[in-house]
């Protein structure tokens, strides 16, 4: 987005109202201005496609123990297995084909990252807005819960959840939502406190619009930019956090590895030169996160009412 001339900047308030052009179309026109972001979008689409099609395109079902053979363990990329098949990206210590492992791993990492990110954002944003808009006791209550939540180390929370609920993707998502929502709440409250003092909110209130309408139609759009910044960071963070939990041995089940778990597993081979066990999943993780962020950055610029032309 290039620097705009002053006279083309519109005041913030009208921007919150629906525009005349189809919003989706205008959104796309603005979005495609940045070529790098378009490449990021293409990357996202590719990764999502790979994730969805994983069972169809993987050479091996990495979850089926019948198809794994430890005699094929730790083979180099391009090596041939006992049954004559070629492992293009090598195998890990269990004889799991890294290519298949990565395709399935993307599925799990994406599911975990996006699901927990979206749920946490919905929960956190609602809480933060409520706190800022109503203030008083509501604010106190919510912000104290936030304090409580933020001081609870993710690792301990995850360990307790594993103990009480057992391992599994759904449990990890619950744990990650529980860890993240407070960040959104805290961030949006900070912005909303400033926004709600502004004239356009006063105006909307004077028009006797309902609280819900003021909060979600007027307050929320103007609080979105920082939320999206935190959001793109958090989705990436969620994926990395899941990897860290796996590294500490309290993440996903070992037989159905995510990208993070694949990296964590290969991590101990880094010193011994068997780079492929963690390098390729690491590369896949990096591409995934970079793509999400490129799209996120552009979304932020496009969605920001104050940067709108």
């Amino acid at each position: 987005m290039t620097v705009t001339t002053p006279d083309r900047i519109e005041p913030a308030a009208p921007a919150a109202e629906p525009a005349v052009v189809s919003p989706l179309r205008r959104f796309w026109i603005e979005f495609r201005e940045n070529k790098v972001a378009v490449a990021g979008l293409a990357g996202c689409i590719l990764i999502v496609t790979l994730a969805i099609l994983a069972p169809l395109i993987s050479p091996q079902d990495p979850y089926d123990l019948m198809q794994l053979d430890i005699m094929d363990g730790r083979l180099e990329p391009g090596a041939q297995g006992m049954a004559g098949q070629t492992y293009w990206l090598g195998t890990d210590d269990q004889g799991r084909d890294m290519l298949s492992g990565i395709l399935y791993g993307i599925r799990i990492s994406l599911a975990v990252g996006v699901a927990s990110g979206v749920l946490a954002m919905m929960l956190g944003a609602s809480m933060g807005l409520l706190a800022a808009y109503f203030g008083g006791r509501v604010d106190t209550l919510i912000m104290r819960i936030v304090d409580l939540q933020l001081s609870f180390p993710a690792i301990l929370l995850a360990l307790i959840m594993v103990a009480v609920l057992g391992q599994g993707i759904d449990k990890i998502i619950i744990a990650l939502v529980a860890v993240q929502w407070a960040y959104y709440a805290r961030t949006i409250r900070g912005t909303a406190l400033v926004e709600r003092r502004k004239e356009y909110i006063e105006a909307a209130r004077c028009l006797a619009l309902g609280d819900a309408r003021v909060v979600f139609r007027h307050l929320l759009p103007n609080c979105l930019p920082p939320l999206i910044v935190v959001g793109t960071v958090q989705v990436a963070h969620a994926i990395a956090l899941e990897a860290t939990l796996s590294f500490l041995g309290i993440g996903l089940p070992i037989t159905e590895p995510s990208l993070g778990l694949l990296i964590a597993n290969g991590f101990e081979y880094m010193l011994s030169g068997k780079y492929w066990i963690s390098f390729f999943p690491g590369l896949a993780l990096l591409l995934t996160i970079v793509s999400i962020n490129l799209v996120g950055d552009q979304l932020r610029d496009v969605l920001n009412p104050r940067l709108r032309k």
């Binding site: 123990l65 019948m66 794994l68 053979d69 430890i70 005699m71 363990g73 730790r74 210590d93 269990q94 004889g95 360990l159 594993v162 103990a163 057992g166 391992q167 500490l248 041995g249 309290i250 089940p253 070992i254 037989t255 991590f267 101990e268 081979y269 880094m270 010193l271 011994s272 030169g273 068997k274 780079y275």
Partner: protein, 523 residues
């Protein structure tokens, strides 16, 4: 891996460099954490390892866990229920006071007294009904029944000075009461970080090579290897198998190995009629628990390709196991051979037992306890799945795994057992003897396996003072248990230490890392 170009910041940072250690200084990197210097507070391997530097014992264990004299010069039975220990003369504590029978009596009195002990050393002294100091250097210990393991048990705890009979644990941690007869004196204990030791020049035994020893706790294995590679420490224990091949090739690194006293094994619920994680393949309940059938257990044992696990998962750093302890240990059987891998035979045996179509099973395993624990579990699951027993793996941190296993929530588990006594009665009593609180049998028998024949031979062995006869009975008990597939032994770990060139270590079967065992070698 990309390595940043050398030299850019080198000049600026070189001043802070490694600072090569003086000739007689040693820094060791340990994988375990030391919680206390009080030798009677918490009976756990890493604490015992450290207090061995500072305190002597009546009897010591050498690198192979054979008993050797330390503060007791000799010992014998004088009747069925009395042991006599002759104490060494002329031994001095670090504070210059003399060692005599009073100190032994004070130690025996302190062990059961220590407040809040989470794992008391009373397990080594509980059998003593009466302790008497005959003269200043002779001790008589009486028991209710004949007790052949007395010398082994006397090697289990440290002797303190009678001055500190009622010293609280803090006094040991602060160093005030950490006065022993050992080869090293405590200089400083920094909890969670390091322990500093200095040589005791008045030590009665062989003087160690190192004047000062710094013991660092580096629990992450990759970080431990990195510390060795960078020269920050001169020796590390618990060498990860993943790095073994690389370290072996490295000119600057030496490796010391010995087969350990630890067997990795599978334990099965062979008691309940319906076990929580044993199901038909479609998830429905089974009429009876197949694990109660010895043919099924045998088939499972046959289905496991132990050499493959040793070679691929353990990278050669283990030995396929046939029984509870490697054959070199006391009380092992010469007749037990490693189960041969025979998938077809296993399938036949399963069919014979009425499970031609197999069933499904969940193997629970810790993921932070034993060397490559969850990887071994996965390999086992692969192999069992191949004979039709659909096996899932659930790997948990030991902190959640152990309490759940003790509540008997699992059906099929991976465990390890290191024999602290260095002979077979320890695993037999704890793992396969029928669970019995009053006899103290089967405390770690989490499959609640029960076989009257094993119990009977074991009890006879525990009453037999004659070493040879006892050894034979223990071997018989091992055979009875293994023929009945009480547990499925997988492998014995190999303990590895890696040292910088110029250093070597006398590898120990009990996994301890002792500065006394680190020697200087020519490069």
């Amino acid at each position: 891996m990309r390595i940043v170009a050398h030299g850019v910041l080198a000049a600026a940072l070189a001043v802070t460099g490694l600072g090569s250690a003086a000739a007689a200084d040693l820094t060791m990197g340990l994988g375990g954490a030391v919680s206390s210097i009080d030798p009677h507070y918490h009976n756990v391997a890493t604490n015992n390892m450290i207090n061995r530097h500072i305190f002597g014992r009546l009897i010591d264990q050498d690198a192979q866990q054979k008993l050797v004299p330390d503060l007791a010069e000799s010992w014998k039975t004088i009747d069925d229920t009395t042991w006599e220990f002759k104490l060494r003369k002329g031994v001095k504590f670090h504070d210059g006071s003399d060692f005599d029978a009073k100190d032994v009596m004070a130690t025996l009195s302190r062990i059961p007294w220590v407040p809040n002990a989470p794992s008391s050393f009373r397990i080594f002294t509980g059998q003593i009904t009466e302790a008497k100091a005959i003269d200043s250097h002779t001790i008589h210990l009486k028991t209710a029944t004949p007790f052949p393991l007395m010398p082994v048990f006397m090697a289990g705890f440290a002797i303190i000075s009678d001055e500190f009979e009622r010293a609280p644990t803090e006094d040991f941690n602060s160093g005030k009461a950490a006065i022993g007869t050992g080869a090293y004196k405590l200089k400083q204990f920094v909890r969670g970080d390091r322990i500093e030791l200095v040589r005791n020049d008045a030590y009665h035994g062989t003087k160690p090579d190192w004047e000062t020893v710094s013991v660092k706790q580096i629990t992450n294995s990759a970080a431990r290897v990195a510390a060795l590679l960078s020269g920050d420490v001169q020796i590390i224990d618990q060498v990860p198998t993943a790095d073994f091949a690389r370290l072996k090739k490295d000119k600057n690194i030496g490796i010391s190995s010995v087969v350990s006293n630890r067997v990795i094994y599978l334990s099965m619920d062979a008691n309940r009629d319906s076990s929580p994680f044993v199901k038909a393949k479609d998830g429905s309940a089974l009429a009876k628990n197949p694990l109660k059938d010895v043919r099924v257990r045998k088939a499972m044992s046959m289905a496991i390709n132990r050499p493959a696990i040793v070679e691929r998962v353990m990278e050669g750093q283990a030995i396929a196991a046939a029984q509870f302890l490697p054959e070199t240990f006391f009380g092992t059987s010469k007749n037990l051979k490693v189960e041969k891998y025979d998938a077809n035979g296993a399938k036949k045996l399963l069919a014979e037992a009425g499970y031609a179509d197999g069933f499904s099973l969940t193997l629970h395993s810790p993921n932070d306890r034993y060397l490559n624990d969850e990887k071994v579990a996965q390999a086992v699951a692969q192999m069992l799945t191949r004979i039709g027993i659909q096996t899932k793996v659930e790997a948990l941190p030991f902190a959640t795994y152990a309490p759940r296993a003790s509540k008997l929530e699992f059906s099929f588990m991976l465990w390890g057992w290191g024999s602290g006594t260095g002979e077979v009665s320890s695993p037999l009593r704890s793992l396969v003897a029928t669970y019995n609180r009053d006899k103290g049998f089967g405390p770690s028998n989490r499959g609640r396996y029960s076989n009257p024949k094993v119990d009977e031979i074991l009890e006879a062995a525990l009453r037999t003072v004659d070493d040879k006869a006892r050894g034979e009975l223990l071997a018989q008990a091992s055979e009875a248990a293994i023929f009945d597939v009480a547990i499925i032994p997988l492998h014995y770990n190999i303990n590895n230490w890696a040292t910088r060139a110029g250093f070597s270590y006398v590898a120990r079967t009990d996994e301890s890392t002792l500065a006394m065992g680190v020697k200087r070698t020519k490069r």
